[in-house]
């Protein structure tokens, strides 16, 4: 409890301290305070992850009632992920923000928001009083908003920030409805009351309650169709913030869904199918749109939606496992989902930091303008490559491990007896495979166009590798990515406590001797080692053989053409052209084309702007309708002060006369009654 109070005091201390420091000091102070907080919460998280759930009550106030703080293994797992990403992100941010040194006030706000964001997100993991939970949730939304709009002089950034703010509040509305529903029936804000209440009402009602919470958290997590804020907010924010947002802020939505699965007692089978369907759609839609993006950060943002989908598939099959009493299925599903949550926060934040390096060096995120960066920034390129392979779920890195667990779960599900689960399993398998294939198309495009070949436009002269200290947190993330890939068992064992919260059984179930499905994880590590040994040995043989032969360089073979220019290279647009033609019904690509004609050809142009079909349907058209309806009352807003005073007077009159009118109506009715 003392630790918790210390934890809350740290951001307050930061608020008092940071404004009075010099520009260089601000970042360092913010980072060290963040580090202190990460240590405190990390210490608690490790304890809870070992099975000693910590719980204590803050007395609270008359309004809130007692505030229970419960740190169980699930909170612990997410707190560790959060701390890892925040510490690496904060350290990376120290160097990334050097370019903005002259904006002292802006940096103050940014540093303080960062501290509050961390405090809020950790609090969300542990608070189990719905009213205080909402306050922490709101703090998180506001802090994230302030972090996103750091470059608020750009109108697009501001728009993205406000878009995020509004959608975040939609999420809060749904949460509020759910919480008010329960507290009005039970009179308690404790999460335990939700459990008791949902167990006492009919299944359809508790299902509705779960849906309310699910929508709220799905908006935060970015499940399709609630994802539209994500592709704007991530590119607009500074790169370390995008990395953290994609790494953990959207994961807090996933945490919420996990938490509500524990708290709300409902029909898990139908919940499972619902989550499975939404996740499959999110996964496919996310990656389909990611492929056609030309802005590197936007591409990564859409790709986050895909990965949220993959995590959701795990949660879905886990729920179905609980619902049908299939323990192996639920263990595999939840373990896969939890591990993929960690994995995604690792490689996605690494990718965003790499994108940040690129932005610092070239001042652009348009992949069509980049190219050949591997020669100027070899370390960034290698790190990006590792993350790209990992995110495609390809061995020997971590993405494969979690996807493998999910595939194992899905194939395990195939031993189910009835028709519907069989169909669901086979289509989910095919969907997961297709997602994997599409991800490969997406990341070969991203890596190939940005780093390989030669530059497609004139890059700044100063384009060079970032300093080593800035690369340090990225190396740390890369090391963890490789470690999970090579020693998956160690990390799976960490998961035994959180998973057992859901499956309800003792953690021993994860012991390979007992659940034979987990047998498969051990050989994965062996196979990855053999693969690496094979690659190394072939490489050494190649080295030995090549030493005896002549190695020369020459121009790329241009099929007889001797004066190729970088413009002739395959572009990102052409790389995915066949794909975008095939998937045209699902995509919305605006085209702007000026063909070359005439005897003496003039300049030709070809522009494409990818857009989001669901955004057009769900956000733009209702907004348009709303605007045209509200436009009818525009005459009221005529800009004349006299009219506004008149409106005020009319309003006051109406308010005063309301009781009078109602009383006279009332007496009129009484009069009628007497007749």
């Amino acid at each position: 409890m003392n630790l918790a109070i210390a934890f809350l005091l740290v951001p307050l201390a930061g608020t008092l301290l940071i404004p009075f420091l010099k520009v260089n000091g601000k970042g360092i102070a913010a980072f060290s305070l963040l580090f202190v907080n990460a240590l405190i919460s990390g210490y608690l998280a490790v304890q809870s992850l070992q099975g000693d759930a910590i719980s204590f009550n803050f007395p609270g106030s008359y309004v809130t009632g007692t505030i229970p703080i419960r740190i169980d293994a699930l909170s612990g797992w997410f707190m560790l992920i959060i701390n890892l990403v925040f510490v690496t992100g904060g350290f990376y941010g120290l160097f990334y923000m050097k370019a903005y040194k002259w904006q002292a006030n802006n940096l103050t706000l940014h540093s303080i928001s960062l501290l509050f964001q961390h405090a809020a997100i950790v609090s969300v993991c542990v608070i189990q009083n719905s009213l205080v939970f909402l306050i922490a949730w709101e703090m998180l939304a506001l802090a994230s908003f302030l972090l996103i709009i750091f470059e608020h002089e750009h109108i697009a950034t501001l728009k993205a920030g406000i878009n995020y703010l509004i959608q975040a509040h939609f999420s809060i509305i749904f949460l509020m409805i759910g919480f008010i529903w329960v507290s009005s029936k039970t009179g308690s804000y404790d999460f335990a009351a939700i459990t008791a209440y949902s167990a006492s009402i009919p299944a359809t009602a508790s299902f509705m309650l779960f849906i309310l919470f699910f929508i709220a958290f799905a908006i935060k997590a970015g499940f399709v169709p609630f994802h539209t804020w994500l592709p704007y907010a991530h590119p607009a924010a500074p790169s370390h913030v995008s990395g953290m947002m994609s790494g953990v802020i959207i994961k807090i939505g996933i945490f919420g869904i996990f938490r509500m699965l524990l708290v709300v007692k409902t029909d898990f089978t139908s919940v499972g199918y619902l989550i499975l369907i939404v996740s499959l759609i999110s996964g496919l839609y996310g990656v389909m749109l990611a492929i056609i993006q030309h802005n590197l950060k936007k591409l990564l943002a859409y790709h986050s939606i895909e990965n949220i989908g993959i995590i959701g598939i795990g949660i879905g099959i886990g729920c179905i496992g609980i619902g049908t009493g299939n323990q192996v299925l639920s263990t595999l599903g939840f373990a896969g989902a939890l591990l993929h949550t960690l994995n995604h926060s690792l490689f996605k934040s690494l990718l965003f930091y790499a994108a940040g390096n690129i932005y610092q060096a070239t001042h652009t995120m348009d992949v069509e303008k980049l190219g050949g960066l591997i020669k100027k920034m070899p370390q960034t390129a290698a790190l990006f490559l590792i993350a790209a392979i990992a995110i495609c779920g390809i061995p020997p890195f971590n993405g494969f491990v979690s996807e493998f667990i999910m595939y194992t779960g899905l194939y395990n599900w195939l031993s189910d007896a009835s028709l519907l689960p069989l169909l669901a399993a086979i289509f989910s398998t095919a969907g997961l495979a297709l997602i994997g294939g599409l991800a490969m198309l997406c990341f070969t495009k991203a890596f190939g166009v940005v780093f390989l070949g030669s530059a497609r436009s004139e890059l700044p002269h100063s384009c060079k590798e970032v300093p080593f200290l800035q690369l340090l947190p990225m190396y740390l993330l890369a090391v963890v990515i490789v470690l999970i890939g090579l020693f998956p068992m160690n990390f799976i064992n960490l998961l035994s406590q959180p998973v057992s919260l859901f499956t309800g059984s003792v953690s021993l179930d994860l012991n390979p001797a007992q659940v034979n499905a987990f047998n498969a994880i051990q050989p994965i590590s062996l196979a990855s080692w053999i693969l690496i040994l094979l690659i190394l040995s072939v490489f050494i043989i190649r080295r030995l053989v090549m030493r005896r032969h002549k190695i020369s360089t020459g121009p790329t073979w241009g099929c007889g053409y001797v004066a190729p220019t970088p413009k002739i290279q395959y572009t990102a647009g052409s790389f995915v052209r066949t794909y975008s033609k095939l998937f045209a019904p699902f995509l919305l690509i605006g085209k702007h084309e000026e063909e070359i004609h005439g005897v003496f050809p003039s300049e030709g142009k070809y522009h494409t702007h990818p857009y989001d079909e669901i955004e057009k349907l769900l956000i733009d058209s209702p907004l348009k309708l709303n605007k045209s309806f509200m436009g009818r009352f525009l005459f009221l807003n005529n800009g004349k002060l006299q009219f506004y005073i008149l409106y005020g007077v009319l309003f006051i009159l109406a308010v005063i006369s309301l009781p009078v009118i109602s009383r006279s109506i009332y007496s009129f009715i009484e009069f009628l009654k007497q007749l």
């Binding site: 050949g372 070899p378 069989l422 198309l441 094979l534 690659i535 360089t553 790329t556 395959y570 066949t578």
Partner: protein
């Protein structure tokens, strides 16, 4: 272990037989069966030319591509004898390890900065993406039918009993054969002998490779074909003892090579824009297999 030896042996002759068949079909004598192997040995002895545009990616890619194919070979069983590595879900590993090789061959092609190689890379990425669901549905159906989730156990438990299962085996053979065609870039998806770079997929991706690297890529290609051949053979030899299984392995591989040679002699490559439709059709065929399995297990009640 047995499977590895058999696959390597088959790989030595496979491409030679295809080329010989094609030569005979067009009325020529053709080169010897072992000519592809001599070609590779000659390449291993040659020097290397690298493009100035390329980076380390281009240099490590062929190595990784080759290593992944070897790795994939290790998990393939042969009838009752298991592969070097065999575990639950090894076919998932099989598909994804091959994907690693593909990833590197695609980015190596992008590394040269050539528009032709970019074109090939784009096509390779797209087509292999479409082939993946078909493979996973096929393996899912077989897993459902046999109740196991590793190559060895699935194939060992698989025995062809009723008429429906004959049909299923035929369909599965078709799917695996077509995946082999896509993966090894043969007709009707890709034409390895075309003379126009615009119409190639795999060949155009390796335009800039030379010497030892090119040798590795060729060898990996030969092995890949034999690996898929071995998978097809495995569909049929589940319980047959080795003295019959091994000859039938070579017989089926030989038959496959000859039929590929004949197909390539008498058929033209599909139009590029028709390829995706064709590959998506594969997924439907594997769904057909899945429904067939459901029929056998009497799930439609």
């Amino acid at each position: 272990m047995l499977s590895v030896i058999l696959i390597v042996l088959a790989a030595i002759f496979f491409t030679g037989i295809i080329i010989r068949t094609k030569s005979l079909a067009s009325g020529r004598k053709g080169p010897g069966i072992l000519q592809p192997i001599w070609d590779v040995i000659r390449l291993f002895r040659k020097g290397v030319v690298y493009s100035e545009t390329t980076s380390f990616v281009f240099q490590i890619a062929p190595t990784i591509y080759f290593a992944t194919v070897i790795m994939a070979m290790l998990v393939v069983p042969f009838g009752q004898s298991r592969g070097v590595l065999s575990f639950n879900g090894d076919f998932i590993f099989f598909a994804y390890v091959l994907a690693l090789g593909k990833f590197f061959s695609i980015i190596a092609a992008m590394d040269t900065g050539s528009s032709f190689e970019g074109m090939g890379a784009s096509r390779e990425a797209l087509y292999s993406m479409f082939a993946e669901p078909a493979f996973f549905i096929l393996m899912g159906s077989l897993a459902l039918l046999s109740g196991h989730t590793s190559f060895h156990e699935i194939f060992a438990a698989l025995h062809i009993g009723s008429q429906i299962s004959y049909a299923l085996a035929a369909l599965a053979t078709f799917v695996l054969l077509m995946i082999a065609m896509i993966e090894s870039s043969r007709m009707p998806i890709d034409d390895p002998k075309t003379h126009l770079e615009l119409t190639m997929i795999h060949e155009v991706m390796i335009l800039d490779n030379s010497g030892f690297d090119l040798g590795l890529i060729f060898t990996a290609g030969y092995l890949k074909f034999a690996i898929y051949g071995a998978l097809i053979v495995n569909l049929f030899i589940g319980v047959i003892p080795f003295q019959y299984a091994i000859p039938s392995f070579f017989a089926i591989q030989f038959l496959m090579a000859v039929s590929i040679g004949l197909i390539e002699s008498f058929m033209a490559r599909f139009r590029m824009s028709h390829n995706p439709q064709f590959i998506v059709a594969l997924t439907s065929v594997s769904l057909l297999i899945f429904f067939g399995v459901l029929l056998i297990l009497q799930k439609f009640m």
